[in-house]
């Protein structure tokens, strides 16, 4: 997208910056690398300096982690510890990837492109469908593997192919579409929201640059939208992480419900054998 007369340019696909052999590096890859570098640096620093009694800085880092872990604990049942690291990783990665778009120079400093446009050096990784689709694929593999671990491969396939067996040719494509819709909804939601945010910020900057003679407006309007984008970035990271948690906990809950049904069967038999006390109790 190109705003009239300005150098603001938001392309829907990530733009190539340079090539190393057969690999083409795009500006969203630089964003993804920066996200990883930030997370690794903070994790390295945190693991070296963490104390049992946290100081203020450590508390600030522990706050979102504890908050998210509490949510997962509430919804994840007894197995919450097995997937809390994954949910936290997804949450922090998406959060940092989203917030990188708010840094000064991101999307506005870059190489000169065609038609007086700029090819930015840096683009938020989550404004690229490849990144969000990769995250959704990883989530997909994780919740399917949790489902297989909980139900066993045979149980999972039985659920996937449907019962009775002769309905499998009809149920299998329906299941495939249903499962693929999770992938698409996860990836498109994040990409759509972050990309729309980038377009909104670029448009607001272009409008206020044109109205620079009204100075308070030129600083105030982009400031409001940057604040809103910060909230949206957080909400989108939370939604992605919580949906991943919902998928995993649904796969595990399915197994628990099966166990529960099996556990109840002998009780039902016992009631049939001894009807009189049961009726008396009722």
């Amino acid at each position: 997208m190109e705003e009239g007369g300005s150098l603001v340019h938001v392309e829907i696909a990530a733009e190539p910056l340079f090539e190393i052999g057969p690999f083409t590096f795009t500006n969203s890859m630089v964003g993804a690398l920066l996200t990883t570098a930030i997370l690794l640096t903070v994790a390295f620093w945190f693991s070296r300096r963490s104390a049992l009694v946290p100081n203020r800085r450590q508390s600030l880092i522990e706050l979102p982690i504890e908050w998210m872990a509490n949510i997962v604990q509430g919804a994840g049942g007894t197995r919450w510890r097995s997937f809390v690291p994954f949910i936290l990783t997804i949450f922090l990665t998406v959060l940092v990837a989203n917030w990188i778009g708010l840094l000064p120079g991101v999307g506005t400093i870059g190489l000169a492109g065609e038609h007086d446009t700029i090819v930015p050096f840096l683009r938020p990784a989550s404004a690229d469908l490849n990144f969000t689709l990769a995250l959704a694929l990883i989530t997909f593999v994780v919740f399917v593997s949790f489902g297989i671990r909980a139900n066993g491969l045979r149980g999972w396939l039985k659920e996937f192919l449907g019962e009775p067996r002769y309905m499998s040719p009809l149920m299998a494509p329906i299941h495939i579409i249903s499962e693929l819709s999770r992938l698409i909804s996860l990836s498109m939601r994040l990409f759509g929201n972050v990309f729309a945010g980038e377009v909104l910020l670029a448009t607001m900057l272009a409008i206020t640059t044109a109205a620079i003679f009204i100075l308070p407006l030129a600083f105030f309007v982009p400031g409001i939208f940057l604040g809103l984008e910060m909230i949206f970035g957080f909400v989108q990271a939370l939604v992605f992480a919580l949906l991943a948690m919902t998928y995993i906990s649904m796969a595990i809950a399915e197994h628990a419900a099966h166990d529960d049904n099996h556990a109840e069967a002998p009780v039902a038999d016992a009631v049939t054998v001894h009807p009189a006390p049961t009726q008396g109790a009722v």
Partner: protein, 78 residues
Amino acid sequence: MPADGPHRAPGAAQPQPWGIALDLGVRLGVSVILGLGIGLVVDNWLATSPIFTLVGMVLGVAAAMYTIWDVASKAMRR
């Protein structure tokens, strides 16, 4: 069945209701579009238009309805 509600296994996972609602809202639309898209691709590939487009759309709608039934039945089982 315990007196305090549905017979959930002790310590079983309990997905957030609003997480399920948020998930369902998008997946209903995506299922239909996905079925239709797959049908269109297959029709273009095999030059059989509009057979697979119609089949894909019907499967997409069926997948959307199945998703509601599946999620609701699992929620009720818990």
